[in-house]
């Protein structure tokens, strides 16, 4: 057994142990922290599976932003703990356990019995990379070969924002999301919020820009930009913008809108919807990605700040 295999078994064991702890622990706050740790270790598993783009996404969005979301919800819902409903009875628990074991065993059996000759699209993707001029195959798939999925995913993000905003109470409709944060102006959090965002913005744009040829991309970079914006909000340096502002809504629509315009252009001037002419493929893709990263950063940040709670004065 090689060292790598021992390491992988240990990593899988720790990840599963954390998963069991997250499900079984009594307090919700501990479960949230356990889930954040789980997400970061799963990112390590992704690196081990040679999928560095997914590892970056899982660490940034799954572990980082998801962790902030769950932690703030757990903090706000801490008063609801004693009022929890009664735990389900033994019969429900036993049948749920049986169902879970059955499904897990079926999936594990399917994994262990996968055929040796694997159908794969990697050669096709690599062979067609000339059409875009980008070297990162995942970016090629996301932005060119399955661009429709990415465009529809931007629309899903937009729908989620509309759903979250529609939960505002009547008197706060179109107002500022979330509470007004205040921190000690001489304190550590404000110091970090002044120091880190310039560095974070550079890192975010770098990860986005290098996604053309190396692991990275608009989603990972957008998540980092969103977290820098959230840091400034949480330190009280800036307030959340009122959601009725037109420039905010324009930024949210810019990503899918530009994607749609380019797609229709491909339909009228080219071969099909979302077809890029090979000569202009790279500038078109990078242009779409610039609009995408702005939209992703704004959307992820707004999803985290939640529904409007304070009306515009």
């Amino acid at each position: 057994m090689s060292i790598a295999a021992v390491f992988e078994i240990l990593l899988a064991a720790v990840v599963l142990g954390l998963g069991i702890w997250t499900i079984a622990v009594r307090e919700t706050y501990s479960a949230t922290v356990g889930f954040v740790a789980y997400g970061l270790l799963v990112a390590l598993i992704w690196v081990r599976l040679d999928a560095v783009d997914v590892a970056l996404t899982e660490a940034a969005i799954g572990g980082g932003l998801g962790g902030v979301l769950l932690l703030s919800a757990a903090a706000r819902l801490r008063d609801a703990e004693p009022m929890a409903a009664e735990a389900p009875g033994k019969v429900t628990r036993a049948s749920a356990a049986a169902l879970s074991v059955l499904i897990a065993a079926t999936l594990a059996g399917a994994v262990l019995h996968l055929p040796d000759s694997t159908p794969t699209l990697a050669p096709t993707v690599v062979a067609n990379a000339w059409a875009t001029g980008l070297a990162n195959p995942v970016t090629n798939v996301l932005m060119a070969f399955r661009a429709m999925d990415t465009m529809l995913e931007k629309v899903v993000l937009l729908l989620a924002i509309i759903g979250v905003w529609s939960l505002a109470p009547d008197n706060a409709w179109g107002g500022h999301p979330g509470p007004r944060h205040q921190a000690d102006p001489d304190g550590v959090l404000v110091f970090l919020a002044r120091l880190l965002p310039p560095i974070g913005i550079v890192v975010g744009i770098y990860i986005f820009w290098t996604g053309a040829n190396h692991p990275g991309g608009a989603f990972q970079g957008g998540a980092i930009l969103a977290s820098m914006w959230l840091l400034a909000i949480m330190a009280g340096l800036t307030d959340t913008p009122p959601v009725r502002r037109r420039w905010l809504r324009f930024i949210l629509v810019a990503g899918p809108g530009l994607f749609l315009v380019v797609g229709l252009g491909g339909l009228w001037f080219g071969a099909a919807f979302l077809a890029y002419p090979p000569a202009q493929a790279k500038p078109l893709i990078l242009g779409i990605e610039v609009a995408m990263i702005l939209t992703i950063a704004a959307t992820l940040g707004l999803l985290l700040t939640g529904a409007p709670e304070r009306s515009v004065k």
């Binding site: 599976l49 699209l121 690599v126």
Partner: protein, 113 residues
């Protein structure tokens, strides 16, 4: 191949754990966490299948990777919407239980600003 099998079994167990937590935990926030656990197990299964499809100098089949990246972002936005719904329920009804009775009129909207 055996390393990939280890992670495949890990993914299957994560799916089972998430499903169990989703059914048995009474609090909605724990259900959301268990649902995310279930989702990450499914994504790991995609990753395992992609790793087995490594070819042409690419370590992991890019198409499942792109699907998983899309999936992570969509799962995050679904979680954000679910938590916004949960916080609004807590604001209106004063508790987070999905009980069958009508919410008490004790919860009222806070004044704006």
């Amino acid at each position: 191949m055996s390393g990939v099998t280890v992670f495949g079994v890990c993914a299957a167990v994560a799916v089972g754990l998430g499903l169990y937590g989703l059914i048995t935990n009474p609090q909605p926030l724990r259900k959301i966490i268990a649902f995310n656990l279930l989702g990450s197990g499914v994504f790991l299964l995609f990753g395992v299948v992609g790793r087995r499809g490594a070819a042409s100098g690419v370590g992991n089949d890019p198409v499942p990777q792109a699907l998983v990246i899309t999936g992570v972002v969509v799962a995050f936005s679904a979680t954000a919407l679910a938590i916004a719904l949960l916080l609004r329920l807590f604001q209106k009804a004063g508790s987070t239980t999905l009980s069958n009775g009508p919410p008490p009129s004790a919860g009222s909207d806070p004044p704006g600003g």
